[in-house]
């Protein structure tokens, strides 16, 4: 439910995205101002992510960009969930810039994609977050309602 405020900003973002996007980021669909899909790839030869493409789903509230969008990885036959100590196997991402505290209204879809790209690029750990199994089994909350504890910022 994007309000007038969000719609204006998103339409500007969209026209910019349609004209150019950084390498490794592709727009899949943006039919409205509520939900967009984008594909990202890791550009260097990190063996963890080589030859894989990942699907991102953005959901925008009417308060966007004052409040952060909800961003998750989506699992499809040809789109796995990247392995990373801050990404749960259900696609939920624990990243401070997507939380209310770390978000800045100056961030945008493109910058979020780039942050996620570099988050993957810099990772060498072939593991899920601690407690992934229980979290994925038990979680019924939307990402924005989860109180992540950003215990380290260097991964």
């Amino acid at each position: 439910m994007a309000g007038h405020f969000a719609a204006k900003r998103l339409s500007k973002e969209l026209s910019k995205i349609r004209s150019s996007l950084p390498p490794g980021i592709e727009l899949v669909s943006a039919d409205n101002f509520e939900e967009w899909l984008l594909d990202i790839r890791v550009l260097d030869n990190n063996p963890l992510y080589q030859n894989e493409t990942y699907r991102l789903k953005f959901r925008f509230a009417s308060s966007y960009p004052i409040e952060p969008p909800e961003v998750v990885f989506v699992k499809l036959p040809d789109r796995p969930i990247p392995i990373h100590p801050h990404i749960y196997s259900n696609g939920i991402i624990c990243l401070d810039l997507l939380g209310q505290q770390g978000w800045s209204p100056v961030q945008n879809v493109e910058s979020v994609c780039m942050s996620l790209q570099s988050m993957l690029t810099g990772n060498s750990k072939n593991e899920r977050p601690p407690g992934d199994e229980e979290f994925v089994r038990g979680n019924r909350l939307r990402p924005k309602d989860i109180e992540f504890y950003y215990h380290d910022n260097d991964v």
């Binding site: 900003r9 308060s63 960009p65 004052i66 409040e67 209310q100 800045s104 209204p105 961030q107």
Partner: protein
């Protein structure tokens, strides 16, 4: 404990003090520099010198909303003058240093650049931020580029349109309840929005909420200040008792609104029990652990299917209703193996049997012990609740008494004092039982129990007198008796509290549970 307890609080503090007691003034120590002086509350008691303070009585001061604002303003003005920075900046610095003025000034003198940076203040000498129209401006948040757009930027120069700024601020204030640390919207910029800029940007209702939140952080930031937890009370209490002292003192304070509560844990007055025991006791009472205790004391499990069985009579030959297993209640062995000694278990004295019996007996004793204290605790809690009815009846009684006996308003006030004494004493008695539950027996506990008994007898006697019919109450002989008993109750309470508080301060009680030494609710004991 429930909300009815706030009723207890109407008792004025004069009632529970010995005649030689001083009032509850802070002993002239007004500059809140407690942080660096441990055990100030003990020192300040000594300083009073000529006034003898009861051991259970602690120094505290009540601040009304106006006082709290004035304290902040005074500190802000002082820092504003000493450091030659604007009031808004002084306020941000003070908040950053949790209102520790001395440390702020010291640190600022040493390394002003780092201090300003850490607090979220810019070091440029530019004038105060204002709204501006900038030609060719495009807002990075909403992408608006209309000519004549009003824009705003803090000293960092991150400029956004006023509309976006408003959205951002209202989200922070209303959505997140943030006030003291609202940063510039730019990514990675930690500059803090000052009160003046905020007032410039947002509407009246938002400003009010903002200042209310700021106001709240002042009290919450200071370890020596706490809000009065009574509903709708806006006062704050200052008390120098710190978390680490809570195993030696029960800091009971009394707000101007009449609410009496513990400064350590914010629960209602729980003297003489220290916070940690109170927490343990409430948890124990709330837990199912006592149900489990009962089960273990009164039942056994079927050795085959583990169903819980209560033996309510009959012989030792048990047949489980569920699985039809036949066993001996005594030794829990197979009944068929009992051979010739039917109805008489000869395996009874086996070591395992003895142990099982002992464990069960211990469990039974501990349950009985708990119930002894719990019943008395709950009884006083309930009586205290009934006192609420009595109190409302008292007022009616007093009016009636005035009419029937021709006594004046002031002459019937003794009933009010009696009612209040009953409530306070019951509150204390209630907690003496929780306290006693955790006491290990020694000579001190005997004195304690004597004190408890004396107070309890006095309270019950007063309670009995108090409920006499109105015709008898008008009798001047009974009036004198009630007044005598009221003051006797108050005295007994003071004696009990004095004794327990002194022994607590001197660490003479032995408890039958582990005391961690740190007080009630978690969190860091000192925040610097």
């Amino acid at each position: 404990m429930d909300s009815d307890d706030d009723f207890m609080s109407t008792v004025s503090s004069e009632d529970d003090m010995l005649p030689d007691d001083s009032d509850n003034d802070m002993s002239g120590d007004d500059d809140f520099a407690f942080d660096d002086e441990p055990d100030v509350y003990i020192d300040s008691q000594k300083e009073t010198g000529h006034k003898k303070k009861a051991a259970y009585d602690i120094s505290f001061k009540v601040y009304e909303p106006g006082d709290i604002t004035k304290q902040q303003d005074d500190l802000i003005n002082e820092v504003n003058m000493i450091l030659d920075i604007s009031k808004e900046e002084a306020a941000i610095l003070l908040r950053h240093f949790r209102w520790n003025k001395e440390r702020l000034i010291e640190d600022y003198m040493d390394r002003p650049v780092q201090v300003l940076d850490a607090a979220g203040l810019a070091q440029t000498a530019a004038g105060p931020p204002r709204m501006q129209v900038v030609p060719g401006f495009v807002c990075d948040i909403c992408c608006e580029d209309e000519p004549g757009l009003q824009t705003f930027a803090l000293k960092c120069g991150h400029r956004y349109c006023v509309d976006c700024y408003r959205h951002y601020l209202s989200q922070k204030i209303l959505g997140e309840g943030e006030a003291a640390r609202i940063q510039c919207p730019a990514e990675g910029c930690n500059l803090i929005i000052d009160a003046r800029s905020l007032d410039l940007l947002v509407t009246q209702d938002l400003t009010e909420r903002y200042h209310e939140l700021l106001h709240r952080t002042y009290v919450e930031d200071k370890e020596t200040l706490k809000w009065c937890p009574a509903p709708d009370c806006e006062n704050a209490i200052e008390c120098a008792v710190k978390k680490k002292d809570l195993d030696r003192v029960v800091p009971t304070v009394s707000c101007l609104c009449g609410h009496r509560f513990c400064f350590g844990c914010a629960l209602n007055d729980h003297q003489p029990a220290p916070c940690e025991l109170v927490k343990k006791w409430l948890k124990k009472c709330a837990d199912d652990s006592e149900t489990a205790n009962w089960i273990s004391a009164n039942t056994k499990e079927c050795p085959k299917c583990n169903s819980t069985i209560e033996k309510n009579g009959g012989c030792n030959h048990m047949t489980c209703r569920k699985c039809k297993h036949e066993f001996c209640w005594m030794c829990m062995g197979l009944w068929s193996e009992h051979g010739t000694s039917w109805y008489n278990c000869n395996r009874y004295e086996e070591k395992s049997g003895v142990e099982a019996r002992d464990a069960q007996a211990r469990s039974r004793v501990s349950l009985e012990r708990y119930l002894h204290y719990y019943n008395r605790y709950a009884n006083h809690e309930q009586s205290a609740r009934l006192d609420k009815d009595i109190y409302t009846k008292t007022e009616r009684k007093m009016v009636q008494l005035q009419k029937e006996s021709g006594m004046s308003w002031i002459e019937v006030q003794y009933l009010n004092s009696a009612s209040q004494a009953l409530q306070t004493c019951r509150q204390t008695l209630m907690w003496t039982y929780a306290f006693a539950f955790y006491l290990a027996r020694n000579n001190l506990t005997e004195i304690f129990e004597d004190n408890q008994k004396d107070l309890e007898m006095a309270v019950e006697a007063l309670s009995e007198m108090f409920e006499r019919p109105i015709t008898e109450l008008a009798d001047s002989k009974l009036k004198v008796e009630i007044m005598d008993k009221t003051s006797y109750c108050n005295k007994r309470r003071v004696i009990l509290l004095e004794d327990t508080a002194q022994n607590l301060a001197e660490g003479r009680w032995t408890f039958n549970v582990e005391m961690t030494g740190s007080g009630a609710n978690g969190g860091p004991s000192s925040r610097r």
